[in-house]
Symmetry: C2
Subunit: 235 residues, 2 copies
């Protein structure tokens, strides 16, 4: 007996949704936020060196906050799963009539007749472990989390953030006038955001050209807003 | 017929998982990243004014990137749902035998007998719309997304990021020496991260004291790393 249904596009979906989702999360913010921060500071200071320091501080802060945030989210998911599982075992033990009702309601909700609701519930309720697994997955919508996922997630997200953040910042390393560095940074980052958005959209089944344009526009808007706000506060 | 099962803790879970999840996402990063950036810059520059400009640029960039990121995620979810739904309708129409097999496999996976697998599948396959809904939800694990969710999400996340980011930055508005401002910022932000972590953990069913400590430590580590890295690059 296999708990996964075999289906080409589901298989692809499942495979891509592990590490790639993390990388997309990390790189999406890594390309956008350090880019917008550098652009914003370029509106307020003329020397690239302070922008390099701020950008590097941001990349360090962002990658750790997002990476450890991913770790924490993974751990929280595990704790949450365990505490809900304990509760379901308690309920199967002590509130059996209510769990029976809930299992029947599930079968009613997917459209089974009253007769089959009864029969299917009776079969499932025979095995306590299987019944709890069923309730966890289909009543509460909780998947059993992979215990190594939290650590992997932290690294993937953090490294993707750093990789993304270095792109908009690198022109400021080589060009000391911030206004000139900004021009190179804008061009390089918008191209990268477009390419990134294209592949991200392909992965999630969205029209890649529309998706790429959206991702690029978000980056451009964030950078423009940061530039405007920083210039406003500088005066 | 109700597609939701009635259960006290599920109801609570469902209610809290809409706006509150957005606010937690936004505030978590809003408290951490501008905090760490300001701390990092305090290790490299002695005047608060440049830190205020960098901090404000970061808050503008971060809130827009995260807010629009939330909007994009919502839109992507909708597009993905629609494209998968179209595919399921096609398959129910043209690959009926395979869909029948997959539906049976679902019932096998939850532990029903061969007899009930047959009967339940036959009942579900009678109504095309209901069958597709069933496959969307239980084969692909996709919930029908709320069409207004993307816009709401964008505002909630963006505003929570701004609200979170103002806390670590505010001491730099009033204290011109960055080292002194940093001390106030660290104390105020760590207290806020602890309180925030406490309520976030309560919401997700994690031990609130342990959760609060973890959230606070992540913020402290991000700030310390940004401080160290900025000081390193300044020399």
């Amino acid at each position: 007996m296999d708990t996964h249904l075999h289906h080409d596009h589901v298989e692809t979906h499942l495979k891509s949704s592990e590490a790639l989702t993390d990388i997309v999360i990390g790189m999406s913010d890594g390309l956008t936020v350090p880019f917008a921060l550098a652009a914003g500071l370029s509106g307020a200071v003329s020397s690239s060196s302070i922008i390099v320091i701020a950008g590097i501080a941001e990349i360090a802060a962002g990658s750790i906050a997002m990476g450890l945030g991913g770790y924490l989210a993974g751990k929280t998911e595990q704790d949450h799963y365990k505490s809900e599982q304990k509760r379901e075992y308690d309920e199967v033990e002590n509130l059996r009539h209510r769990e029976i009702e809930e299992t029947k309601e599930f079968f009613a909700s997917i459209g089974l007749s009253a007769e089959l609701q009864e029969k299917a519930t009776a079969e499932i309720a025979q095995d306590k472990d299987r019944w709890v697994d069923f309730m966890m997955k289909y009543e509460l919508g909780l998947e059993k989390p992979d215990p190594k996922r939290a650590t992997k997630s932290a690294f993937n997200i953090g490294l993707a953030y750093i990789a993304g953040g270095i792109i908009p910042l690198s022109p400021y390393f080589f060009i000391s006038d911030s206004a000139s560095a900004l021009k190179v940074s804008v061009m390089a980052t918008l191209v990268c955001l477009f390419i990134f958005g294209f592949f991200k959209s392909k992965m999630t089944g969205v029209n890649p050209w529309a998706g790429a344009t959206r991702v690029m526009l978000i980056g451009a808007m964030a950078a423009a807003a940061a530039f405007g706000v920083a210039r406003l506060f500088e005066h």
